[in-house]
Amino acid sequence: MSEALFNVGDRVLVRDLQAEEGVQGHVRAPVYCRGLIGKVERICGVFGQPESLAYGGDGAPKQPLYRVRFSMSDVWSDYAGEAADHIDIEVYQHWLRAA
């Protein structure tokens, strides 16, 4: 199991493992949040890696899953709503780096 690297309130950047490491096939981090910086809102638990489980693997090493909060105006460049609006996306630790 991978140790939790981040705490609530930490700034994290969503990596693009498809571009960085050539990861192919099933992944969970949607394209629209990759490269964005958000803040850890909570730690949801520890789960097997979907890239492995999707192909019959054992999912090891298990990864902490974080709920990351992004400002809507960071996600959508033309966002016209309230400045405080945000979206929470759950992202596995191996898809995050400190920012």
């Binding site: 693009d16 498809q18 571009a19 192919q24 096939g25 099933h26 949607p30 394209v31 629209y32 949040c33 990759r34 490269g35 097997g48 979907p50 489980l53 999707a54 192909y55 019959g56 999912g59 996600v75 959508w76």
Partner: protein, 107 residues
């Protein structure tokens, strides 16, 4: 951003308002849901939800667009169970053919 966006990964694309459909789930939808929950239960352990998702993401863009929510599940269940050797394509085809004759439906 990666160029490898799958056809299922549509966040941020403009599809207009989300249609809200009221109504009960149909029996076949409940059955598909029950099958997946049974197959993924700890005592059975034949399928993971990650495998279900991967199956849906590899049905092909046309099937993905054409199938309703549980239609995607049903197709993925068949695909993954055949891949694992739990079912064969022949068994599935035979069963579908039998049900069609029983119910007087065209082949």
């Amino acid at each position: 951003m990666s160029n490898e966006r799958g056809y299922h990964d549509v966040g941020g694309q403009d599809f207009g308002p989300v249609p809200i459909v009221e109504g009960e789930y149909q029996l076949w939808e409940r059955r598909v849901d029950a099958m997946m929950r049974m197959l993924s239960s700890p005592g059975v352990g034949l399928m993971k939800f990650d495998e279900l998702r991967r199956g849906i993401e590899t049905l092909g863009e046309d099937a993905y667009a054409a199938e309703p929510y549980y239609g995607k599940w049903a197709r993925s269940l068949c695909k993954i169970l055949i891949e694992k050797g739990v079912l064969t394509q022949d068994e599935l085809d035979q069963k579908i053919s039998n049900l069609r004759s029983e119910r007087g439906l065209a082949e």
